[in-house]
C-alpha cells in the first residue's frame, strides 16, 4: 500500500464536500499542485484517483496535476535558485544552510463543477468555511460547452 491512497481519499472527501455545498451535479475537473519535495508520486496519485473516484460525485472527473519544482534561498548570501530535491545547496556560494521557498506544496487548487440547474451566481449558496480560502470564480460557459 502507498500513502497516495490516503491522500487521494482525503482529496475525494474534500471535493465531495465542495460539490455538495455548491449543489453541483458533477465534478468536471480537480486541479492539485504537487511540489517535488511533497513526497507524493504524481503517477501513483493519478492511478489511485482513477480507481477511487468510482461511485463518487467525481466519478467522471479529470485530475489535473501541476508539478512544482524546488526553489531554495541561501541563508548565507540570500541567493534564490532552483534546486534538485536532494541537493538543496546554494548554487552561488555553496552554502549548506538554505530555506526551501517552493516545492513542498501539496494543495487542492480548484474544483470545476457542473451545476445541476440554472441558479444565477448570485443565488448560489454561500461558500463554506475558511471563507477567505474559497472563492467562486464564474466561468461563462456558452451553450453546449458542457455537453
Amino acid at each position: 500500500m502507498m500513502h497516495e491512497l490516503s491522500i487521494c481519499q482525503a482529496l475525494l472527501i474534500r471535493v465531495a464536500e465542495i460539490a455538495a455545498v455548491n449543489g453541483a451535479a458533477a465534478v468536471e475537473r480537480v486541479t492539485i499542485e504537487i511540489g517535488a519535495l511533497a513526497g507524493v508520486d504524481p503517477a501513483l496519485l493519478t492511478a489511485a484517483f482513477a480507481v477511487m473516484r468510482a461511485g463518487s460525485c467525481a466519478a467522471t472527473a479529470a485530475l489535473r496535476i501541476e508539478s512544482t519544482g524546488v526553489r531554495i534561498e541561501c541563508l548565507a548570501c540570500g541567493t534564490e535558485s532552483p534546486a534538485a530535491p536532494n541537493r538543496l545547496i546554494c548554487t552561488q556560494c555553496g552554502g549548506y544552510r538554505t530555506r526551501v521557498v517552493a516545492g513542498e506544496d501539496l494543495r487542492l487548487r480548484d474544483v470545476e463543477l457542473r451545476l445541476a440547474g440554472l441558479p444565477e451566481l448570485a443565488q448560489l449558496p454561500p461558500v463554506p468555511e475558511p471563507s477567505g480560502l474559497l472563492r467562486r470564480r464564474a466561468r461563462a460557459s456558452g451553450p453546449g460547452a458542457t455537453a
Binding site: 502507498m2 531554495i72 494543495r107 460557459s141 451553450p143 458542457t146
Partner: protein, 247 residues
C-alpha cells in the same frame, strides 16, 4: 435551451471553485489537536521513523532501561514488521499500546488520537511513537509530535538521505544506528551519510547509536534530556481542546 434533449432548461453551467488548501488539512487539524493533549500534560512526544529493521524498537528498549528510573515513559507502537514490538516494550515495565494499522504504510493523526486516550498521559514525561517501517509514507503525516527522529542503520546504504530527501529533511535528528557493526562493514561510510544529509540544506544533526553488543547511547540520551528539559520549561498552553475532534 438544453441542447442535449431540447428541454427548456438552460445548459448546465460550470463554475470553478478556488480552494488553495492543503490536501492533508484534515490530518493537520487532528495533529494540532493531539499536540494540545500532549502540551496540556507537558509530555515530550518523539516520532521514530526508519526503514524496517533499522533498530527503532531496540533503541527504545535500551532507552527505557537507561531512563526509566528518572522519567515516566510510554510507547505507541505502530510498526507492523513485528507484531510483538509492544510486548518487547512492556517487558521493560513501561506502558505500550499497539496500534493495529492493518496494511497501512504510515501512522496518521487520527490513529494516534485513538491510542492516546488509552494512555495515562497525565503521568508521563516522554512518549515515543514508533512509526511504520517505511522511509516514504510517514514523512508527510503530522501526528502531533514535537520531534521527528529518523534512524539510518549502518546496514543500509550511506546514500539513503539522497534517495529519501523528504523524510530526512523532515527530521529534527538523524540517528545513525547499529554503529557497533561499522568495523565489520566495509561499504558504509558515516562521513558520506553526513554529507548526503548536509546536502539537504536544513542543518539536521546526526548522532551515532548502538543498542546491541557494545551499547553506545550517550549522544542520544543527551539529546533526549535536553529536549525533556526544554519541554518542561515551555509555557503551559491554555487547555483548549477542540470539541469537534473529541468524537
Amino acid at each position: 435551451m438544453c441542447n442535449t434533449c431540447g428541454c427548456a432548461m438552460k445548459p448546465a453551467d460550470t463554475v470553478t471553485i478556488d480552494v488553495l488548501q492543503g490536501l492533508l488539512a484534515a490530518n493537520d487539524r487532528a495533529a494540532a489537536h493531539n499536540r494540545e493533549h500532549f502540551d496540556r500534560h507537558r509530555v515530550l512526544v518523539v516520532n521514530l521513523m526508519s526503514s524496517p529493521g533499522a533498530g527503532k524498537t531496540a533503541l527504545l528498549e535500551a532507552t527505557i532501561v537507561a531512563l526509566r528510573e528518572r522519567y515516566r515513559i510510554a510507547v505507541i507502537e505502530g510498526d507492523l514488521e513485528t507484531d510483538n514490538d509492544a510486548a518487547r516494550i512492556r517487558a521493560h515495565g513501561v506502558p505500550a499500546l499497539q496500534i493495529t494499522t492493518g496494511s497501512a504504510c504510515h501512522l496518521d493523526a487520527q490513529l494516534v488520537h485513538a491510542a492516546l486516550h488509552e494512555l495515562p498521559l497525565a503521568g508521563l514525561d516522554l512518549l515515543f511513537i514508533e512509526n511504520v517501517g517505511n522511509l516514504v509514507c510517514p514523512a508527510g503525516f503530522d501526528l502531533g509530535q514535537h520531534r521527528n527522529v529518523t534512524l539510518l542503520s549502518v546496514t543500509e546504504g550511506d546514500d539513503k538521505p539522497a534517495k529519501y530527501p523528504v523524510i530526512f529533511r523532515a527530521s529534527d535528528l538523524v540517528v545513525l544506528s547499529k554503529t557497533d557493526l561499522l568495523d565489520v562493514l566495509d561499504d558504509f561510510d558515516p562521513a558520506r551519510a553526513a554529507t548526503a544529509l548536509r546536502a539537504l540544506g536544513g542543518g539536521v544533526p546526526m548522532i551515532h547509536t548502538a543498542a546491541r553488543r557494545a551499547p553506545a547511547l550517550g549522544e542520544w540520551l543527551h539529546w533526549l534530556e535536553c529536549e525533556l528539559r526544554a519541554r518542561r520549561a515551555a509555557p503551559l498552553r491554555a487547555p483548549r481542546v477542540d470539541a469537534m475532534m473529541e468524537a
